[in-house]
């Protein structure tokens, strides 16, 4: 794997991702793991693994992004996840639009210009409603595996309305609905609708400029794409590796450092 010329690491709240790119900026290697409580140790382990692949890291710039970017002491530079996601997605699609990134504990909507620049963005507030944690919490309550949630939700037409304002309130509602014998699939569909309605409110804050592009681990859930299309009336497009867009963008910034064409300080 000697083709790796630059690295990007995305230390998210739920997963940690590292991406290597070649001289053209093409993603040629990656690792993705669940985030561990001691992020510094996990990052060090990632870098050890990377050394085994590329030999030495001495001439390979590393850009860190994500929630824990400040903890990556080995990074040449850190860039926010907003800028990195936009960079990664633009590289993937080659056009601007509206990017919706739904992560584990964080979601954001980013307006991207036709040239790939961030025009505007909005992030969810501290509350976990509107993020992957919203689904995760209720999935455990319903005893449905996370990777089955979307299919289950799409398996029915009926759905029950569920609060979109608070993850904790939503969980209480779910308990009440189960007690009243509401089918699990209908509850799941209502939960997805609730998350999407919150996301759409964020999209409207930035303003929809088609196409709608998605990134983040949560978009692997098919119900997210389907309901987002329903709510917005817009076709949504997914990158090949939605979870790696931030790390890919970071790696592209690292490549710019290597090429002495840095655009982000």
């Amino acid at each position: 794997m000697s083709g790796i010329k630059a690295l990007g690491i995305d230390v998210g709240s739920t997963t940690v991702k590292i991406v290597g790119v070649d001289t053209e900026g093409k993603m040629c290697w990656h690792i993705l793991e669940q985030a561990e409580p001691r992020v510094e140790d996990q990052v060090e382990r990632f870098l050890d693994h990377t050394r085994q692949v590329v030999g030495t890291l001495d001439r390979i710039p590393l850009v860190a992004t994500g929630y824990g970017r400040g903890l990556v002491e080995q990074a040449t530079r850190s860039v926010t996840e907003i800028t990195c996601h936009a960079k990664g997605v633009y590289r993937e699609f080659g056009h601007g639009g509206t990017l919706v990134d739904i992560g584990g504990q964080d979601s954001k909507v980013i307006g991207i210009s036709p040239e790939g620049k961030v025009l505007d963005f909005v992030m969810n507030d501290k509350c976990a409603a509107g993020t992957g944690r919203f689904l995760e919490n209720t999935a455990s309550r319903l005893k449905v595996p996370l990777d089955r949630m979307g299919d289950e939700a799409l398996s029915v037409v009926e759905e029950v309305p569920i609060s979109s304002t608070c993850t904790v309130f939503a969980e209480s509602e779910v308990i009440s609905l189960i007690a009243h014998g509401v089918p699990v699939a209908s509850i799941l569909r209502g939960l997805h609708r609730s998350l999407i309605k919150r996301t759409v409110a964020m999209i409207r804050t930035v303003g929809i400029v088609p196409p709608l592009m998605l990134s983040g681990g949560v978009v692997l859930n098919p119900a997210i794409c389907r309901l987002l299309e329903e709510e917005t009336g817009e076709k949504v497009v997914l990158p090949r590796y939605p979870q790696l867009m931030g790390a890919h963008g970071a790696a592209l910034f690292a490549l710019e450092i290597l090429n002495d064409g840095s655009q982000v300080s």
Binding site: T80, V122, M123, T205, V264
Partner: protein
Amino acid sequence: MEVISVIPRRLDVINKYKEQGGYVAAVLPIHYPRALLRAFNVLPVEVWGPPRVDTSHGATHLQPYICSIVHNTLSFLQMGGLDITDVIIIPHACDSLQGLGSVLLDFVPPDKPIVPIYLPRGRRESDIVFLTREFYAIYQRLEAITGRAPSDADLMKSIRREEGADEVLIKLHQSHSCLPLTDIAFYRLIRSREYLPAETFIELAQAVLAKDIKKPRDGIPILLSGIVPEPMSLLEAISEMGAMVVADDLACCGRRLYPPGRSGDPLRRMAERIIYAPPDPTRGNPIRERREHLLRLIENSGAKGVVFYDVKFCEPELFDLPTLRCELQKAKVPSVTVEVDINDPLSHQTLTRIEAFLEILNERR
């Protein structure tokens, strides 16, 4: 800078003023007639929360969706934080502050007088007349509280002193980017006007202005809009990210650069000063005026973007924001919105939003 290190502490100022026979008023945000209070030998000491207070006291009487400034004020009062003051002035800046006035008058009455101020929503002649009458009502309340009855000449003397302090305040704002002060030092100085007597503030400010270095600082220039820059460490974080505040539209700072009054009638002159202050949503100024004011500030200061740093649940601010941001976008001025609770430390999300915004501005340079 040494001048900043000698800004007197709030409690010391209050104690000294009282030792000299003066009264102290706790004044809630935002607009009030300083000169009127000082003419009665009452020192206004503003209460913008304060931050980091145990809010459980206020939470008994207020809903969770009331802003942290109001929550904290009530909690601070109930914990005895305002015991040292002689009177509480509550301007009707917003529904929440008006509600706080009702709570204090009807449900949790403190052992000191409550003086509400009803502010008109506009700049018409009738608004000036209304506010002048309102100030006359406050005159009568202060007369009853202090036993004093300042003459028109006394009032004009007090007005001129406050106009002098505000003139220096305006000069500080105009020279902001050329002063040998970090942003946090600058805003500590500006915000000392919240409790220092005008004469003390003038002395401090003039010492700083004398050191105007005429050389602009380095960094991405931004305009800060909102209510209050709390926690103040925000300003250090902005500097560390490579940016600098070159102008502000903050309720506690730039929106209170009161122009001199025109009238020879002291109460009317005080009213004119507030009515003709920079536009402020809490005084009902239309978004068009706010847009023009912001664009003027941006042009004069060279700011490259606007950070709207607002207190959560602040309705007057948040109602304006979508339209205001849209208007700025049309004028090709980027902006970002950050909402905070004044009790919280600077959050990672807040810093990320500002950092990402600075990355956008940096790309445009």
